[in-house]
Amino acid sequence: MTSTLHRETLETLAFRAGYLALFALLVLPLLVVVVTSFAASGRLAFPPESYSLVWYGEFFGDLRWLTAFENSIIVGVGTAILATVLGVLGAFGQEIDDDSRIGSIVGPLVLLPLLIPPVILGITLLMYFSELGIRGSYVTLVLAHTLWATPLVYFVMRSVFSRFDWQQLDAAADLGAGPIQSFVHVVLPNVKQGVFVGGLLAFIISLQEFVMALFLSTASTETIPVLAWTEIRQALDPMVSVVSTFLILFSLVALALAVLATNLEWVSRQLS
């Protein structure tokens, strides 16, 4: 009895050590980035010889970086909105129309953009948008990022809808709710956490996408990954780390919001 208990403790310990090591492996590079952002010298080295906030000052003083940040957020929000609308409607449509022929095609079709290398997508879109005369605008970046983000929102929503009790739609229709009323008053409130998570996912995808942005952006619409790449080619200074730190921070806030959104109702139920 005691020996089995002992063995269980040992196994638990080994397991803990294992996943802590894995966790450390994932987090350490991020730590290096954050730490180097506080370097005082102009050389990107780890650990830095001395610490200061001088590069943060540089960042806030540099209009190019601030503009890139603004661009990233504009494109990110645009992508999040467009991809969420498309992904949610696509998943919903397929769910309520799943035995029709169109429904069975949508699933694999939505995946396609993920299977095409971003370089090819970027070049193709560049030619296409030039033809349309909207080259270099935010719209092109948002559309390109939406190509990538929509499948992810779509798959998140498929799994959310698979847990939705579809009889509620019958009940709503039965009580006099038309299709749009049903969607607004019954479907959306039930899946709002999923919608929120899908939207955040789309935002993060857009925030860190580089290849298509490189092809499609101009000096006035360039996003953070694009500017970072241009800068690194010229000089490898801690500015890159500062920008990365902000990106990490952004993603963490987004993640926290997502966790909060999914658990908010649970939390409020616990409190009341």
């Binding site: 009940a171 709710a177 038309g178």
Partner: protein, 384 residues
């Protein structure tokens, strides 16, 4: 007026036919139960009345208006679903007020009406409750209040009681009956439980294999089932196989598997011919039982009787003897399985003050031949 007419209603899913040629008139203010085993098409029929399924063929009229093509949200019907389908993200009060909200009723007015409905189903103190925290019986009441709140012409109930335990189910049946008398709306209630149907219904429609086999008053259906399926479905009975031995104008005798010739008094225009294979239904309530005198002579004299005498009122006494095989206590009744010849029948005793029988007892089973129902081998009723 909200009478319902179903005319040649048919629903196909690909190759399978769920509902086939269902036609019935449901009167205004009537409570009709659609009764049948699962898969008999009764829920599909109900969903077509609600507008949640579109019929492949046929027409539906409610209050004289053809609603066949009308979507569910335009019909003045309201459904209580089997697992109630309450909205989990809305409070109990909001659930009940939902239908009125969709009809554009102001918040004050719809909350007031919702509260009245909740009080009617004795859920008045649960306004702000989260429906997911309610018990099955409470959810059922809220679902009923939600459906009644929109003041429908027709209330459709899709086995709403089947997920409740027995005691609660019986209470709710009585309550439903009262609500029906109260609101004077047309109710269509779907169930697979014959007791529920007999408790609730003004009329019962029996469904099997997608078809509506018989519609009628509860006692009419019970006394006069149209086929063998209904006879077997409405309650336990003994089906005894046999062949017609002689078919006289006033008397039919059947050579049965009970090792004896059974006699059925017949009307003059009966349609039975000699040699026809039949199935006879001997319901436990028509069988009376008696312990045989233990002396061997008595047994012999009973068995010697070839044909039972016809009594003055036209009934014919049938008697068989057998041995008690098993005794099963079922609360208020005791059920005995009795082997008779090569076959076996079950009989019941409800009067527990009578002397109880035990395994191995020799007993005599008697019944009046005119109480027996006869069926052809294809299940149709034999007119005798």
């Amino acid at each position: 007026m909200s009478e319902i007419t179903l005319q040649g209603l048919e629903k196909q899913y690909g190759e399978t036919t769920a509902v086939e040629d269902v036609s019935v008139e449901i009167n205004d203010g009537e409570l009709l139960c659609l009764l049948g085993p699962s898969g008999s098409g009764k829920s599909t029929t109900l969903r077509m009345i609600a507008g949640l399924e579109t019929p492949t063929e046929g027409a539906i009229r409610i209050g004289g208006e053809d609603v066949t093509e009308q979507p569910a949200y335009d019909r003045h019907t309201s459904t209580v679903f089997q697992d109630w389908a309450l909205f989990p993200h809305k409070s109990v009060l909001e659930n009940v007020a939902f239908g009125l909200k969709m009809r554009g009723v102001s918040e004050d007015e719809r909350h007031e009406r919702a509260e009245t409905m909740l009080e009617r189903v004795q859920m008045g103190s649960y306004d702000d409750e989260d429906p997911t925290n309610l018990s099955g019986g409470q959810k059922q009441r809220v679902a009923l209040a939600r459906s009644l709140a929109v003041n429908p012409d027709v209330l459709l109930l899709d086995e709403p009681l089947s997920n409740l335990d027995k005691r609660l189910r019986e209470d709710m049946q009585i309550e439903l009956r009262e609500i029906h008398e109260d609101v004077e709306e047309t109710f269509v209630h779907v169930t697979h439980d014959q007791d529920e149907a007999f408790t609730l219904a003004d009329r019962i429609g029996i469904m099997d294999g997608g078809q509506l086999i018989q519609v009628g008053d509860p006692d009419e259906i019970y006394e006069n089932p149209k086929n063998r399926f209904i006879e077997g479905f409405l309650g336990d009975t003994n089906f005894v196989e046999g062949t017609v031995e002689s078919a006289n104008p006033d008397l039919v005798t059947v050579e049965s598997e009970l090792d004896d010739t059974l006699t059925i008094p017949a009307g003059e225009d009966h349609e039975v011919a000699e040699g026809t294979p039949l199935e006879l239904s001997l319901r436990p309530e028509i069988l009376s039982i008696d312990r045989l005198a233990s002396d061997a002579e008595g047994t012999a004299s009973e068995a010697d009787e070839e044909h039972e005498p016809m009594l003055a009122d036209g009934s014919v006494l049938n008697t068989v003897t057998g041995t008690v095989d098993t005794v099963l206590y079922r609360g208020s009744t005791v059920r005995y399985s009795v082997s008779v010849g090569d076959s076996s029948v079950f009989v019941e005793r409800t009067d527990t003050t009578e002397e109880s029988l035990s395994v191995g007892d020799e007993i005599r089973i008697e019944w009046n031949g005119s109480d027996v129902l006869a069926f052809h081998t294809d299940g149709t009723r034999v007119g005798i």
